[in-house]
Symmetry: C4
Subunit: 233 residues, 4 copies
């Protein structure tokens, strides 16, 4: 069996989404990539989380062609593979319909950086894509979903995918990523917590400005980069 360890990591990331209440029934999916072999491991489509085992994971190449596995891969596969091809430093992708992040996506609103919890993980607002055109929706829809994310990160106002490891798809829900499957799931859980607090901040006080650039810098770089001081080494 190919990629034994990555299968286990991807399964574990999928289960973390369930434990943290981010997914309902079979909603949501996580995948991971082995950059050396150019292979992606992804959750199968519509299988109960209780029954999921490492061997159920589907292995594809970076174009989404199935290499190993008897189950159909997650219906969002083409978004995952596009993100792997375009964001070459990421190692895993997670997709959920977690309640609060999805509510921002449905409202077509980015999640503003209102506090240090946000700044610890996301170096600026979590962006929202443009709405997909009817043409994109009727075409290669799942691929186009990925294109909308890529356009948001590589278009007019570029963002570093590792500094802002999440994007809301307009009218849909968040995609989140990270260097590892563990990190991607962790980021998805924190995104939901941050979205929840942003929702309450906005409904308390509609005109909050959000954290200063100085606070954003201080918190983000406390946890990330070569000068990080958080945690045990």
């Amino acid at each position: 069996m190919l990629l034994k360890e990555l299968r286990e990591e991807v399964l574990e990331a999928n289960l973390e989404l369930v434990r943290r209440g981010l997914v309902l029934y079979t909603f949501g999916n996580a995948s991971g990539v082995d950059r050396e072999q150019g292979l992606v491991v992804i959750k199968p489509s519509g299988v109960d989380y209780d029954d999921l085992k490492p061997e159920h994971m589907v292995v594809t190449d970076l174009d989404g062609k199935i290499v190993e596995g008897t189950l159909r891969p997650s219906s969002d596969l083409d978004t995952h593979t596009l993100l792997y091809r375009e964001f070459t430093e990421i190692g895993a992708v997670v997709h959920t319909h977690s309640e609060f992040a999805t509510s921002f996506a449905q409202a077509g609103l980015a999640i503003p950086a209102f506090g240090t919890t946000h700044a610890d993980y996301f170096y600026g607002p979590v962006p929202v894509t443009a709405a997909l055109t009817d043409e994109a929706i009727s075409g290669r829809y799942v691929h186009e979903t990925g294109l909308a994310i890529v356009e948001r990160f590589k278009g007019e106002h570029p963002l570093d995918p590792l500094a802002v490891p999440a994007c809301l798809v307009n009218g849909h829900a968040p995609f989140v990523w990270g260097r590892t499957a563990h990190d991607a799931a962790h980021n998805a859980v924190v995104l939901e917590a941050v979205a929840k607090m942003a929702y309450r901040t906005l409904t308390l006080q509609a005109d909050v400005l959000g954290v200063s650039q100085a606070l954003l810098d201080r918190h983000y770089f406390r946890k990330h980069g070569s000068a990080a001081t958080y945690g045990q080494k």
Copy 2:
């Protein structure tokens, strides 16, 4: 004992509502229909869920006449039977006072189709009935509740009950259905999740437009109909 398997499915649907936090105490009820025999299996009224057994289920004909069972059927029986007579393709009905869907019903508002979670299950807004007249309330109230739902689906702006498998009763709460008891309960759980996200979307941004027809089509038909691609086969 009549309809052994359907009793078990209906019991299981009732318990799913409890597990998912959709009912409090003895609120809520689920039923299923055997179309060949013309018999309905429904939860008894006001019995603790912990004590419910398949043999407690009450069996009636399509007019609500009790055929088997010593307990009194759910007080909402006449709404269930009317829906079975009028919506001939459905196999089960669920009624809950789940918090967010009920809040929309109390506000007299349909649940708009704000995102793909909604579109995966409901092909357009989940409608709300007209308020019942005083005459209807003082008359055959439970039957009239069913009539208000039917009027909403077969009246001036007709809807396909299988494409939009739920309706909010104005000032009351949702009724939800499906081809099987499992599906009806599943739809009720998703309806509550969708209502929760619609509530937060609206309180974030009062003037959201909701998903386009193209997105509604894409998501709904990804999970339903002959061209469905979601899940394993």
Copy 3:
């Protein structure tokens, strides 16, 4: 030991408040009355729920004089005893700081009858008392809290305490009652559910009218009074 059975019922009512998430730490209290003996059984003050046993309950007369028990009674005792003296048909009183009902009390707002869930238990809005005067607060405060409730039910716009078995104390929290300790706790749990849905209804749509008198009548009398049809017998 006096009143063995009532002690157990009162303990059980206190524990039901914990199980349903209505109390935090030692907040909240339930009591019951034995009308024949003129004795009240009440939770002791500030004891952990995990440690509560029937023998810890304090027994007082209807004026709050301790008859049996070595622990200090709940600090809200004088409100309970006043309610027993004034509302002669009730058998138990419950006080919680449950989140949503307390939020209405803090806003100085009655909980409107927005739907049938409400109407099944409360025959009209759940009222809020006038704010206590500084004099009342500095005087026999706990007794005055009871007086404010009684004034709301027996004053200018009288209400039947059994038809509306709850009152919000302005700037404080709800007091709830019933014929038995079981019923009082049950009503407190439903009050919180009803408050939660009223909150969401109001924040969705500020100008909802609420249920009609006809719907209020239909639902309330379906569960209460000689013509009740809900449940088994």
Copy 4:
């Protein structure tokens, strides 16, 4: 090993934050001080709560110099030690990013004293600090966070740290304290409950006035000071 008992109390306070849902992953930290020895016991940085043992706690002096322990202390250490030096009567400090209190901090709003639940624990609004200047953020940031709290309590409108045992740091989250580690954690849990109810009170009715001084006095002094009557002795 130094301070065996205090280590256990501090660990227990940390775990209480987890049990009550106030922290996510490794967010949050609690510490305690031994005034006689001038030593502080604090949670290590970024260690899973499941793995925490008393011996993992880090011991520092009141200037934050490590005296015992092989792990790196919580990154918020300098805020804790400053509070111990400035608020000489407190025995423990807790920091969380609990959802509702943090939402107020992000909105830059104090938590108003809307009801008796609040008044039982906090003698007046829970204040929010001024926003930190860019200079403070780029300088000794964690120390400056403490200074902002101290400025709020000892500046133009002084407050008694034991009468109002919490402060929101603007754009960040709450710091909470008490005479013991148990009390500090308890206060943090109640703060979150109070923040939740204040949020709902404000979103129901934006112009609530809050409790009167008389009610604030009555409730606060019922639980605190020499005339306290709540609980057993």
